[in-house]
């Protein structure tokens, strides 16, 4: 019987803690100030592009764009994502003529401007490589987009874990949605069409 009572106390205790946590989250003034309570993705940045230009969020205002975190020592998901969005843009034809895709390297130690230029250039001229100048700049950019990246050792060196979705941002630079490799080309292109139709 004692054991049963203990279970009951613990359960009520747990419910009390969860309720308190929920109330805190719901009533937390900082959260309600944000209006929607949805974590914001995107924001100010300024990074060097593969052609030596500096690209900032302010430069991108007025038109929707896409942004991807990747690296050139990536055998699968990065080339596939870039190939897919290239195909999607080509399928949309004139509607995607001025669309721009930014490939932010999470491996600035190896991905030089020259290498990124060759890499993104082998897909489409509308893709621009962006290179954080150091770890701090990369960390800040990842925070801005709530992206994850992590260096992982391998027998011969290292590889990078990273967020693999393509971020779609609207003309105000606000998060609009994502493109995912698991989606069909039809789904991805319908999304892009809707995003581009806003401008």
């Amino acid at each position: 019987m004692n054991a049963l009572r203990l279970v009951r106390y613990v359960s009520w205790g747990a419910i009390a803690v969860i309720t308190a946590a929920l109330l805190y989250v719901l009533l937390n003034p900082k959260q309600s100030e944000q209006g929607t309570g949805v974590a914001s993705i995107g924001g100010p940045f300024r990074l060097a592009a593969h052609d030596g230009r500096m690209v900032s969020d302010a430069d991108l205002k007025g038109k929707p764009f896409a942004l991807f975190f990747g690296f050139t020592h990536c055998p699968d998901v990065c080339p596939t994502s870039m190939l897919e969005i290239t195909n999607d843009m080509n399928a949309l034809g004139a509607a995607a003529k001025d669309f721009r895709v930014y490939f932010v390297t999470v491996d600035p130690a190896r991905d030089t401007a020259a290498l990124l230029k060759e890499y993104v250039g082998s897909f489409d001229a509308r893709i621009t490589g962006l290179i954080p100048k150091d770890e701090a700049e990369l960390a800040a950019m990842a925070r801005t987009y709530r992206a994850i990246y992590r260096k992982v050792d391998t027998p011969s060196g290292y590889t990078m874990d990273h967020t693999a979705s393509i971020y779609l941002m609207d003309e105000k630079g606000q998060f609009w949605g994502t493109l995912d490799s698991k989606e069909t080309p039809q789904t991805r292109q319908a999304k892009l069409k809707r995003l581009l139709g806003r401008g």
Partner: protein, 168 residues
């Protein structure tokens, strides 16, 4: 007696085509390696992925523990996984196990061999020569067919003869 030229041509074509299909299956010990292929790499890329199916027809487990490729300085056996929307790749320290009676497919988004530090880009239509090293079965020479960028396993199995029923 004269054998018509056309018959000779047909016969040699038959032999040639079956040879080329055969040439893409490899056997070592109890292991059968089916259709090694790779994807063409983008400009500047220093790595490429290799894929295949490995079947263990024996009664003992085996492991793919390494290999070589003429196009790269380093060769590793890797696993790729998506966790949520995060791509994670790991080298398989103990190799890739092929259990008796099972077929393991190396394919995009999963297990693959990595050609690291490529000497030249992988170009569509090329063949990449190398070896696979198994713990029990030993070393076997293989040739990877380089498919277009973004190719998937279904698209690469156009031989019919050994594609397990895939026909296009």
């Amino acid at each position: 007696m004269a054998i018509p030229f056309r018959a000779v041509l047909c016969a040699s074509l038959l032999v040639f085509s079956s040879l080329s299909a055969l040439a893409h299956d490899y056997k070592i010990g109890d292991l059968k390696i089916d259709h090694p292929w790779a994807r063409a790499t983008p400009g500047g890329a220093k790595v490429g992925g290799g894929f295949m199916k490995i079947t263990n027809t024996g009664t003992l487990p085996d492991r793919l523990i390494g290999g070589t490729a003429l196009v790269s300085n380093i060769f590793e056996v890797h696993e790729m996984k998506m966790e949520g929307n995060v791509m994670k790749m790991r080298a398989l320290d103990k190799g890739l196990e092929i259990k008796p009676g099972e077929t393991v497919e190396l394919k995009p988004g999963g297990y693959h061999v990595m050609f690291i530090d490529l000497k030249s880009p992988l170009k569509e239509g090329e063949k990449v020569r190398g070896t696979l090293v198994f713990e029990r079965a030993g070393t076997v020479e293989v040739e990877y067919k380089v498919e277009p960028r973004g190719a998937s396993p279904a698209q690469t199995h156009d031989h019919g003869a050994h594609a397990g029923g895939h026909k296009h």
